[in-house]
């Protein structure tokens, strides 16, 4: 848009703000492509850009009766569009943050998963309780995460796990 067209559009905006209803079409046809172009340039998604441009043009017409006649009306309309673009960007960032938070919540075990885990560990503990003292000591040491002290203890742990497996198969099939 060159300077003459811009001046003409501003004059039409002033006429419309002053009560000339016939100037509506000229103002709308002049502003809509500019609002859409600004939104499209600033936002990656076409749908978002169209939403923002529509919201902005409705805001412009909502406030046009308060238009400052001494200032450039086109710049004023573009400022409103730019603010809406910024608002849309902030909304998208917030939406992404909320989605990330939601994903993090998904990573935590659910209540049913926690229940199953608790039941399994209770059954394993019950089986360990029925085993001999040496096997129980070896398995307790392993479950506490302590590394084996020498080859003998490692073999004792291995044998204890084998016996635990056998007991589990016997109990649960």
């Amino acid at each position: 848009m060159n300077a003459a067209e811009r001046t003409r559009l501003h004059a039409a905006m002033v006429r419309f703000a002053d009560g000339d209803r016939a100037a509506f079409r000229e103002v709308f046809d002049g502003l809509w492509p500019m609002c859409l172009a600004l939104a499209t340039r600033s936002l990656a998604q076409r749908a978002d850009a169209e939403d923002v441009a529509q919201r902005a043009i409705l805001k412009v017409f909502d406030r046009i009766v308060d238009l400052d006649r001494e200032r450039d009306g086109v710049a004023w309309a573009m400022t409103i569009t730019a603010f809406d673009v910024l608002t849309m960007r902030k909304q998208r960032v917030r939406r992404r943050e909320r989605a990330a938070d939601h994903d993090r919540e998904d990573e935590r075990p659910s209540a049913s998963e926690q229940f199953v885990e608790h039941e399994l560990s209770a059954q394993v503990r019950a089986l360990i309780g029925d085993m001999s003292d040496r096997d129980r000591e070896a398995l307790d040491a392993m479950l506490s995460g302590r590394p084996p002290r020498g080859e003998t203890e490692r073999k004792r742990r291995f044998r204890a796990i084998e016996r635990l497996r056998a007991a589990w198969r016997k109990a649960h099939g």
């Binding site: 419309f16 703000a17 002053d18 009560g19 000339d20 509506f24 079409r25 709308f28 809509w32 859409l36 169209e50 441009a53 529509q54 043009i57 409705l58 017409f61 909502d62 406030r63 046009i64 009766v65 308060d66």
Partner: protein, 181 residues
């Protein structure tokens, strides 16, 4: 894809609603103004009628165009001069006499009306365009505002204010209109 025609129609409605809202905002000034004379013993019915008439005229003129917005503001501000004078007279316990009998109350109303009328014409004469319509609106709004204030003084007070306001405004306006043509 955006439906341009539907969007244009929505924008037109939004602009019309916004204009109506702006026009009706004057009610925030006029409604309290209509209640003020009640404190000086004016009749509630007369205040309500004049207040509603003033509100209707002001809102319509403001809704119509920018010239109406400016003229209503001028009329309200200058009409407030006789309104305040009438309220002060009532506060001092002064009452207007019978019709056609000029007492100090009528003299004060005549003076206040004349000041408002002359000022209204001078202010409107400085406008660049729609001067005649601006002048009519300003005088109408100023007359209703002044009448609202003087209603507590009685018919003589209202009449003397309106006669002075309209006559002085017309006398000042004639040379302006003559020069413009």
């Amino acid at each position: 894809m955006v439906d341009i025609e539907a969007l244009a129609e929505r924008a037109r409605h939004v602009a019309a609603r916004s204009r109506l809202r702006m026009a009706c905002r004057i009610g925030l000034v006029i409604l309290p103004l209509a209640c003020v004379p009640l404190s000086s013993g004016a009749q509630a019915g007369a205040c309500a009628c004049l207040g509603l008439a003033l509100l209707a005229v002001a809102a319509y003129c403001r809704w119509r165009d920018r010239a109406g917005v400016d003229a209503v503001t001028t009329g309200l501000v200058l009409g407030a001069v006789p309104l305040v004078v009438a309220l002060v007279l009532r506060a001092c316990g002064v009452e207007a006499a019978q019709l056609w009998a000029v007492t100090e109350a009528e003299a004060a109303c005549l003076g206040a009306g004349a000041i408002a009328g002359i000022a209204a014409s001078l202010v409107v004469a400085r406008a660049a365009q729609h001067r005649r319509r601006r002048w009519l609106i300003a005088i109408l709004v100023a007359s209703l505002t002044a009448a609202l204030g003087c209603v507590g003084l009685g018919p003589a007070g209202v009449l003397s204010t309106l006669v002075a306001l309209v006559a002085s405004a017309t006398v000042v306006w004639i040379p302006v209109a003559f020069r413009a043509s």
